[in-house]
């Protein structure tokens, strides 16, 4: 190896004095995504455990399906296949939940490891590109979970539609749900910087999604409890799940009349993304005011 002297370094920086660098938001976001995945893949045991979790969760609902009568599901307006019903709910809720919680967990990790201050020192866009990179990372990893769960569902005999056009529509629904929920993830990450209550926050969020989203029971059950039912309608996940389920189980197109209502409500939540970034910035400034960037 040829030795490098201080002269070489000085010359390199002298050359570098020419006007630098077209800033690229996309490059920054993709870099954050790529290196985050690289870090994830260095945790081999963690990966193996998550794989096991996918299989066991699907099996639990497979066995629960023996307790649910198909007639009850039909009476509530769904197809009689509880395996398909629960697997689709579990797949989507875990998908969203894992992605949302991963961002808050990531923030916890960055702050406790001490890297968050370093990121803050080089941040040139109020963390927007970094957050997008982290969201992409969360959803990349969760997608593996999501697809894995659906495949196991297929293997267990869940009656999903085989119409590719419907699956494309279901994919669009998933993307919409992902975008809306990334806003919630970003807000949660911002809140973590200041409030530090990671576990409390995550338990609250997962409970709300599972309870009000109708993950393992049809929402129409809540009609007997009108307040809970109306609260559930305020949750974007409820509408996303309803669209997804009706599409992949019943083969209902998302542009059919009943589905358009849910789609419109879901679209109404899109501005949450802007709110998410603003909330994050606000918490970040609060953390800088109170010296909380490296406190966990």
């Amino acid at each position: 190896m040829v030795n490098i002297s201080g002269d070489d370094c000085i010359e390199l920086l002298r050359v570098g004095e020419r006007p630098l660098m077209k800033e690229s938001f996309v490059a920054r976001a993709l870099t954050s995504w790529y290196y985050q995945l690289k870090i994830l893949f260095s945790y081999k045991m963690h990966l193996a455990l998550e794989m096991m979790d996918i299989i066991l969760s699907a099996l639990i609902y497979y066995f629960v399906s023996f307790l649910v009568s198909p007639q009850d599901l039909v009476a509530l307006g769904y197809s009689p296949d509880y395996v398909a019903f629960s697997i689709s709910g579990i797949a989507l809720s875990r998908y969203i939940w894992t992605s949302v919680s991963r961002l808050a967990r990531k923030m916890h990790h960055e702050i406790s490891a001490g890297t968050f201050e370093s990121l803050a020192a080089v941040d040139t866009d109020n963390f927007h590109s970094w957050l997008i990179g982290q969201v992409l990372y969360g959803f990349t990893w969760s997608s593996m979970w999501f697809i894995g769960t659906l495949i196991i569902g297929f293997a267990l005999g869940a009656g999903f539609t085989s119409d590719p056009w419907i699956w494309i529509q279901a994919g669009i629904v998933v993307i919409l749900v992902v975008i809306v929920h990334s806003a919630i993830g970003i807000m949660a990450a911002g809140m973590y910087i200041v409030h530090k209550q990671l576990e409390t926050m995550l338990v609250l969020m997962s409970t709300v999604i599972e309870f009000f989203g109708g993950v393992i029971y049809p929402l129409s059950i809540l009609l007997n409890y009108p307040i809970l039912y109306y609260i559930s309608l305020l949750m974007p996940f409820t509408h996303g799940l309803e669209l997804f389920r009706r599409a992949i189980i019943d083969g209902t197109p998302i542009y059919s009349l009943g589905m358009l209502v849910h789609l419109s409500v879901l679209l109404l939540f899109l501005p949450l993304v802007y709110v998410g970034f603003k909330v994050f910035e606000r918490y970040l400034n609060l953390a800088k005011k109170n010296a909380l960037l490296s406190v966990y």
Binding site: I4, L20, T31, Y35, K38, G114
Partner: protein, 342 residues
Amino acid sequence: MREYAIVSEDLTKIFWDKDRKIVAVDHVSLKIKRGEFYGLLGPNGAGKTTYTKMLATLLIPDEGEAWIDGFSVLKDPLEVRRRIGWMMGETGGRALYWRLSGYDNLMFFATLQNVPKEIARRRIDTFLRFLELDDAANKLVMEYSTGMKIKLMLIRSLLHNPNILILDEPTLGLDVESARKVRVFLRRLVDELGKTILFTSHNMYEVEALCDRIAVINRGKIIFEGTPREIRERVEDIKIIEIQLVLPNGELSEVLKKLESLSVVKEVISHSKLGHITTIRVSVEDHHSAIPEIAMSLSSYKIESIFHALPTLEEAFLKIAGIELEDIDMYSSGKKRRAMRW
């Protein structure tokens, strides 16, 4: 304003410990010229890091304002961050991703700082080789020693070629040879490329060798600002006599005892040996009367020279900051010495 790279006016940061108000930085006003190597000294907890973090936009001040390269840290924090390279000290490499390699860490931060890939690659390769990290470039940072992590953090602060560097103890934890290399390089960045460096260190030798000007901060306030020579001249009431003599082996303790027994000597401050010459520094009340008396008491030894010396930067700093050596043995070269009573 244009001639200054860093300006702060009444910069203040207050922390609260329950109901107790702690003024970490108390109305600090400094002006650091472009192309200046500026040292910020102070004991632990004096407010150095809080001050530099406000300049780096990692903390929002409670009062006052600061400008980096003409951009306000309050109104234009994004522009400020584009213009500075910041390296945090005393973290044991916490500021790096331990599960990424050294090379990946640098590439990641270079991209976040908008350095095009090709330029980043060239700079990373060159700096890694310069600081002899090239063999470890693809190892995970968790396998790095403290010194290696510090080198990596230093490289990271340079990748986007900022004009202003804020470096918190950049040589702490480096071996002697690496520290020397880094010092020479940092000085060249100032002299040859006109970069501005704001630098904190506990190593007085380093500060004296590198800094054009220094400020001493204690309890959040600037208590001195000037050149290293000015700080030494400032503490007129410290009167130091330096004695250089040739001592036979085993005689040193006898000589020290003799000196301590003299009424004109307040304190033996330090002693060292270089070649066959032993140098002893003592503080005295009045050097005019002390020199003949000391010379007389040591007349049985071969005295090479005895003279009134300026205090070292370390002695001057301790005096100005009002610290006793016992409390902060890190300021000495690691060897605990007796308390200096001024």
